[in-house]
Amino acid sequence: MANALINAPKTARRGDTIEIKALILHPMETGFRPGTNGTIIPRNIIEKFSARWNGEEIFAMSFSPAIAANPFVSFFTVARESGRVDFLWTGDQDFRVTESVIITVT
């Protein structure tokens, strides 16, 4: 059950600074915690998050085990041309989720 919520404006004026917010469901298990039987729960975190606007990377970040579950990322970018923004989360245990939004620049 992997799903994400993206909050980005549908339209923007050319040259405007816009805020994009991305929220994803993920346990972000640190790999340091013992489970109920005393053994360590294996690490399961998102390692990388990136956003590409028409293929060009506009934002990327690496996650660490200290980041809470269901990470929420907000960043700013400048609207240059209409197109699609692709979001990609990758992480432990072959975690891979993609999401995209269309932004029209006028």
Binding site: M1, N3, A4, L5, I6, L23, L25, A68
Partner: protein, 258 residues
Amino acid sequence: MKRPGFGLTLVLVFAASFAAAQGGGDKRRTGYQDMSAALQQMADDETSNPGLLFVKAGEVLWKQPAGKANKACADCHGAVDTSMKGVAARYPAIPKDADKPVDLEGRINLCRTGQQQAEALKPESEDLLALDAYVTHASRSLPIAPPADPRLARVRELGKALFTRREGQLNLSCANCHDDNAGKKLAGATIPQGHPTAYPVYRSEWQTLGSLKRRLRNCVIGMRAEAYAYDSAEYLALEVYLMDRAKGLKIESPGIRP
């Protein structure tokens, strides 16, 4: 020309004083009002509230056929916006041909085992919380309205008795905190009045969504008493009493709490 205006002013003055009197009479507050502005903003924005992730997952499950009957919730109930509007506001309730109340999660599981002929979902499982959140979300900002079923009165009495009964090593009752000392501090946190308007709730401490039962369990363990089983009559009685105590307050699920 002047008279209608004067009349209107009178009506407005009357309405305002009436509203003030109403507001002044009801001293109930929900935990939402005691949260920081940042958390309130996070809860109100449907793209930053992590509870909405579960609502979204619930929408998928709602439309997905399950069990031997191979039926989805949507096959019988249709869209939640119409069929489930206000439903969460009147649970727990006693179903037809039954003598014990069920809460919304119990109702979902009754549908699963009865109509869908599927296995009941486990308490606090992601799927059950997701369906609960999705159905409850359809009642967001509607007032809590417990059913006028006379059979519930006895359960409510039991709930009230549990709420006011001291137990555990600390010898506390729910009422000691949530009636007598609400609004004061317990360590760094404001003690809420304990109105279940936000359930299933996303707690930062849990880093996930949880049901009212999980919250009650937390409190019981905090009182150093022995927690009840998830399907116990005690939790249901408490839920029935708490919903009645919060009658008229608006549902804000999925809420956020520290």
